[in-house]
């Protein structure tokens, strides 16, 4: 890989999180981008890029949850990204956390689905990520964060 290019790790859970992340691809042009999401088959949608699958897990299942946390650490150590960009959800918080510890700049874009309030994970991201933005001007204002436009 070309060392002069900025290394971006773009990570999102499945469904709408992933679809919104894919809509940001134009922002990654010229960067060395790796993707991570929950379905191994999503790799088909980002041909030519490194891809990592991880399993989503709720806090209730402690073993599965621990596995997600270690997987996130592993992805960060493997990638050593300069930048972590995510559209959620909860598992990506760990990627942001470990990414930041390893020196990456971290960006949380709260899903457009959260039109009345920031998601639970988004509220945690306020304290973990370098930058957290909402796709709704009013939600952004209520949380004292920026609105950078929407994924639509």
């Amino acid at each position: 890989m070309n060392r002069n290019r900025i290394k971006v790790l773009a990570i999102a859970s499945g469904g709408g999180h992933w679809v919104q992340l894919l809509r940001l691809r134009a922002a990654f042009e010229g960067c060395d981008v790796a993707y991570a999401s929950v379905h191994p088959a999503s790799q088909d949608e980002v041909p030519g890029h490194r891809y990592y699958a991880f399993r989503d897990a709720s806090r209730k299942n402690k073993l599965a949850f621990a596995r997600v946390v270690f997987r996130m650490l592993w992805i960060i150590l493997r990638e050593r990204p300069d930048v972590v960009v995510t559209t959620g959800s909860a598992p990506a918080l760990f990627c942001v956390f470990f990414g930041r510890l390893c020196g990456a700049q971290t960006l949380w874009i709260d899903s457009i689905a959260n039109c009345q309030q920031l998601s639970h994970s988004g509220k945690k991201a306020l304290r973990i990520a370098h930058r957290c933005v909402s796709q709704w001007p009013e939600v952004a204002r209520n949380n004292g964060i920026e609105y950078w436009g929407g994924a639509l």
Binding site: D82, Q105, L107
Partner: protein, 172 residues
């Protein structure tokens, strides 16, 4: 073809049951349902548990109507393909989802051209009937496959400023 999908995560049998029941009453209509991990197995409609993303996109491209849970993935996919879509929100009270954001997003989505929100099972059946009667013929404008220029520009700027941040960090 009518393509119904419950999204990608939790089961959503309520949607599958209504669409399948309706399919039984309208055998001439081809119906395909992606039902995920649901318990209810359709008796009338064709079904699949989970498709690979590219196969999923093909099903969207080849359908005349999409029926989906009120998830952003489903909504955005329908919009990108310019397909009319009926969105059926999951209920927090029934344990179909872990937060109530689908119902909250319903109000924002229901007035968009080519988008219909079914608030309950009866409304969903009514909208399927309306589709058959040719009343849901408006398609959403085929949207771009990229986020707004504003968001792209900001994200790009954030990424490229990271270099400077790193240098400052090392200089400390």
């Amino acid at each position: 073809m009518i393509f119904a999908t419950i999204g990608s995560m939790l089961p959503f049998d309520r949607l599958v049951q209504v669409v399948d029941g309706w399919s039984g009453e309208h055998p001439a209509q081809e119906v395909l349902i992606q039902l995920g991990q649901g318990q209810y197995v359709p008796r009338h409609a064709k079904w699949v548990r989970m498709m690979r993303p590219l196969e999923f996109n093909q099903s969207v491209e080849s359908c005349e109507l999409m029926v989906a849970h009120l998830g952003m993935g489903s909504f955005i996919t329908a919009m990108q393909a310019g397909k009319p879509v009926i969105l059926f929100p999951r209920s927090l009270a029934l344990g179909e989802i872990t937060s109530d954001h689908q119902r909250q997003a319903a109000d924002w989505l229901r007035d968009k051209p080519g988008v219909w929100v079914a608030d309950d099972e009866t409304a969903l059946q009514g909208l399927l009937d309306a589709f058959c009667a040719g009343q849901l013929s408006v398609s959403p404008e085929v949207g771009s496959r990229s986020a707004s220029n504003e968001l792209i520009t900001h994200v790009r700027q954030f990424i490229h400023e990271s270099r400077g941040q790193k240098r400052e960090h090392k200089g400390e």
